[in-house]
């Protein structure tokens, strides 16, 4: 599903955010990406979502070489990925329903399909009753769940989450992780970037750890996570 082959990302400042990173994530995996801030997590996610292009090396996502993606192709590529943001990136000038509907409208779905899929996604995250509310009226955990509903409404084959539990208490974090697990269980490849080691340890899943732009750990931690 995802393949990084000797990927280096050097920013204009001359700093290498990622240095010769190679990794592979198979279809249907649930993988955590961890590391201190500045270790290259965000860069890796930006490369994955075609926000940035690699300086060297190859990135293949779902069979597409991201280095060769033209500007015009990027939107269509992004429609196959669901992205969950730390600060959820909801729009407060419209209802929960309309926020979740965005990816479908962008892709040009018929209104009936939009309504059906939006309600299905909201049902999945347990917020169907709040579809008409403005997301600003929701709690932090609920807002994040709206963000997740929006990320999955298009039924992407890949779900990428950047610090999805960054602002949530442990209980809500566990709830969000539970959702990711459910999506993963139906075949979605999920990549979650997080520095919440405690949570990652409890999930007992494959972990990729970055340090200073290099991949320093790849495996399922036994009991005591060694990375970082």
């Amino acid at each position: 599903m995802i393949k990084f082959d000797n990927v280096t990302k050097r920013y204009e400042t001359g700093q290498d955010a990622l240095a010769r990173v190679s990794l592979e994530i198979g279809r249907g995996e649930l993988v955590f990406l961890t590391g201190h801030s500045g270790a290259g997590k965000s860069t890796l996610l930006k490369l994955l979502t075609a926000i940035e292009k690699p300086t060297r090396g190859q990135i293949i996502v779902g069979g597409q070489n991201l280095g060769r993606l033209s500007r015009g192709q990027v939107p269509y590529f992004r429609r196959n990925i669901g992205i969950v943001f730390q600060n959820h990136q909801l729009l407060f000038d419209r209802s929960v329903f309309d926020n979740v509907a965005l990816p479908l409208q962008v892709a040009g779905y018929a209104p009936r399909d939009v309504a059906r899929r939006v309600r299905a996604a909201l049902d999945k995250v347990g917020l169907l009753s709040k579809e008409r509310q403005n997301p600003i009226a929701l709690s932090g955990g609920e807002q994040q769940r709206v963000g997740i509903a929006r990320a999955v409404v298009n039924k992407p084959s890949l779900l990428v989450a950047d610090e999805p539990t960054g602002n949530l208490d442990p209980e809500l974090s566990a709830e969000v992780m539970g959702l990711f697990r459910q999506f993963n269980a139906v075949g979605v490849t999920v990549l979650v970037a997080s520095h919440d080691l405690e949570l990652i340890r409890r999930m007992q899943q494959r972990v990729l750890a970055l340090q200073a732009g290099q991949l320093i750990y790849d495996g399922v931690p036994a009991h005591e996570p060694q990375p970082a």
């Binding site: 279809r27 249907g28 979502t49 926000i51 015009g72 939107p75 269509y76 590529f77 992004r78 429609r79 196959n80 992205i83 990136q89 729009l91 000038d93 419209r94 329903f97 309309d98 509907a101 965005l102 990816p103 409208q105 962008v106 892709a107 040009g108 779905y109 018929a110 209104p111 009936r112 399909d113 939009v114 309504a115 059906r116 899929r117 309600r119 299905a120 996604a121 049902d123 999945k124 169907l128 929006r150 999955v152 298009n154 039924k155 992407p156 084959s157 999506f183 139906v186 075949g187 979605v188 490849t189």
Partner: protein, 334 residues
């Protein structure tokens, strides 16, 4: 990007199953076209809602556009009216040949025959002294004075329409007529007709330049307004781009906003011109009457109005296009 919800709110329990790879497979080309059309409709409506949501600032922008367009439009209407007023003079030169009072009728007949045979003369109209007198009485109001005269002081006049407008040929013809013993004086009415035509051409040229400059002004006003719209919706643009919106999708609402600004501006400009015409029609009629003219101030024809309003809408669209081209592609997720 508000969405029209259909009334049906049925929940489908089978749906939440997320299958890998089933991303956009469920969308046909037909769906896409319908979705595209729907998006256009929604964006047009939403841009209008946004326009109405800030009535004061929208009105200001529209008014600026309207004033910029009303000026050349008013000049255009004024020029059209001027041309209408002088339309009686078809711009053709005319030669008035005043015959000697002592010329005998037979000689005049011969002279007229020669004129009609002349290849340089297209048309000859004879005004007899009696006709001239009657016309003079009717128009000048000096009938009583003329009644006191024992004989008609007016000569026979031939009004010639030359076959060509060539200056040299006209002069030759006039000179030949002057040389004839039968003519008293020959007046070549060419200079002022030409001046009028030249003046009109000058006014048209000025109007064109003026209109072009103000059109550029309108475009710039819209560019600036739309740029502010784009800035204020930066977050939204970033989010829709992250969920896979193409630049065309992002541009659409702004293009419609520009269109609405232009259209409303054009309509207000039309209103301003009509208002100006209504205010001027009274005095213009009085003036025309003092010249014994049946001239009436003409408004803007339907075609001109459509041109004005449509042109304004296109200028608005153009301004919005410039703004989105310059600013939207620069807003990319970082």
């Amino acid at each position: 990007m508000n969405h029209n919800r259909p009334e049906t709110s049925r929940r489908e329990t089978a749906e939440p199953k997320l299958r890998s790879g089933a991303s956009t497979a469920g969308i046909t080309a037909n769906d896409r076209l319908r979705g595209w059309l729907l998006h256009h409709r929604e964006m047009a409506a939403e841009a209008w809602r946004r326009f109405m949501a800030a009535p004061l600032s929208s009105a200001m922008t529209s008014l600026v556009i309207a004033i910029a367009l009303a000026l050349p439009a008013a000049l255009y209407v004024g020029l059209a009216n001027f041309q209408q007023a002088v339309a009686g003079w078809d711009g053709q030169p005319q030669i008035s040949v005043f015959m000697d009072k002592r010329a005998r009728p037979q000689a005049l007949q011969q002279f007229a025959g020669k004129l009609e045979a002349d290849p340089l003369v297209a048309e000859v109209q004879e005004v007899t002294p009696e006709q001239a007198l009657a016309e003079f009485e009717a128009q000048s109001g000096f009938g009583d004075v003329l009644d006191g005269l024992q004989e008609n002081p007016l000569p026979t006049v031939f009004l010639l329409r030359p076959a060509s407008a060539n200056q040299a040929e006209l002069e030759t013809l006039a000179q030949r007529l002057r040389d004839s013993a039968l003519t008293d004086s020959v007046v070549l009415d060419v200079a002022w007709v030409q001046r009028l035509a030249q003046l009109t051409a000058l006014a048209q040229r000025l109007l064109l330049g003026f209109a072009a400059l103000l059109a550029v002004g309108v475009v710039l006003v819209v560019v600036n307004t739309i740029r502010l719209h784009i800035e204020s919706r930066r977050d939204e643009i970033l989010v829709v781009k992250l969920v896979g919106a193409t630049n065309a999708f992002v541009r659409r609402p702004f293009l419609y906003s520009g269109f609405w600004y232009g259209l409303t501006g054009g309509l207000v400009a039309w209103g301003l011109v009509m208002l100006g015409l209504a205010l001027l029609s009274g005095p213009a009629q009085d003036l025309a009457q003092s010249y014994q003219s049946s001239f009436e101030l003409r408004g803007m024809g339907v075609t001109t109005m459509l041109l004005l309003v449509g042109g304004a809408a296109i200028l608005g669209l153009l301004g919005a296009w410039v703004a989105v081209m310059r600013h939207i592609s620069g807003i990319e997720p970082r």
